[in-house]
Symmetry: C3
Subunit: 115 residues, 3 copies
Amino acid sequence: MQVVFQITSAASDAQLAMLGQLHNLLQYTDERKTRIAVEVVVHGQAWNLLLAAQNPLSEKVQVLHTRSVRFLICQNTLNSRQLPLEQLLPFVEVVPAAIAHLIERQQEGWAYIKC
Amino acid sequence: MQVVFQITSAASDAQLAMLGQLHNLLQYTDERKTRIAVEVVVHGQAWNLLLAAQNPLSEKVQVLHTRSVRFLICQNTLNSRQLPLEQLLPFVEVVPAAIAHLIERQQEGWAYIKC
Amino acid sequence: MQVVFQITSAASDAQLAMLGQLHNLLQYTDERKTRIAVEVVVHGQAWNLLLAAQNPLSEKVQVLHTRSVRFLICQNTLNSRQLPLEQLLPFVEVVPAAIAHLIERQQEGWAYIKC
């Protein structure tokens, strides 16, 4: 299983819902010993999910990272917010264009979940 | 044609919009005598769409069911709401994890529509 | 690359966000000399994005059209709003059922982005 999530919302209820879905998904694949690759593409308003400081959800994000979920932020989002990458959690990776990455993954056969 | 819809919203306007889309879709495929498989995965806040009682949309859901649309609820949603399956419409089916099901269907070649 | 966008929202912030994503996407593919086909399927509440008159976003839509983005409106949306096609930008194309088009494109291998 291969899946890319997209989140653009800054709202904590939307972000919490996604983190819960990721938790449930990994529990499902763990129980069935199914291999899964998971990426979360963060852009638009959702960058606060990845802040290193003053982020009430950072612990949950870190736990998912230790369970192999990759968190990707869009370079366009960093630029338009003048947000330095250093303010984000240290394991966050950058993609040049969020939408382009979502397209490429789908055309490589990954599933897509819009949050 | 094979498609899986995802709905997570409790709002009646979002639910009505989806039911209208399903109606239009089945009209399209009926007119063209095209075979279609349709599943609706209900999770998060959207469980009220499937209630057997005190549900103003239940009749529309039942009509779609008689036209072969399958309605699936997530076991995690039932658990977290302490919602007994008996309170839902009798034809509702259960999947262990909504997101896992959406991934599997896409990787089997089904299209995905997020509501 | 082949991608179909879906937009159903009348809100200008949602519409602007999508137009920005399209702009960023085309910049990405231009820089890499990657060929891309892009369609935007407009239905539900989002028809105002395609109005020819009194539409603050029409210029941005036209620029994207000149860069080969196709804008498609759903016939069901035109019917239910009693909206004449003549009130829309002249390059707008019509599909009989928005959801059916989104399914067909995905099953032809196009990626899908829900706005």
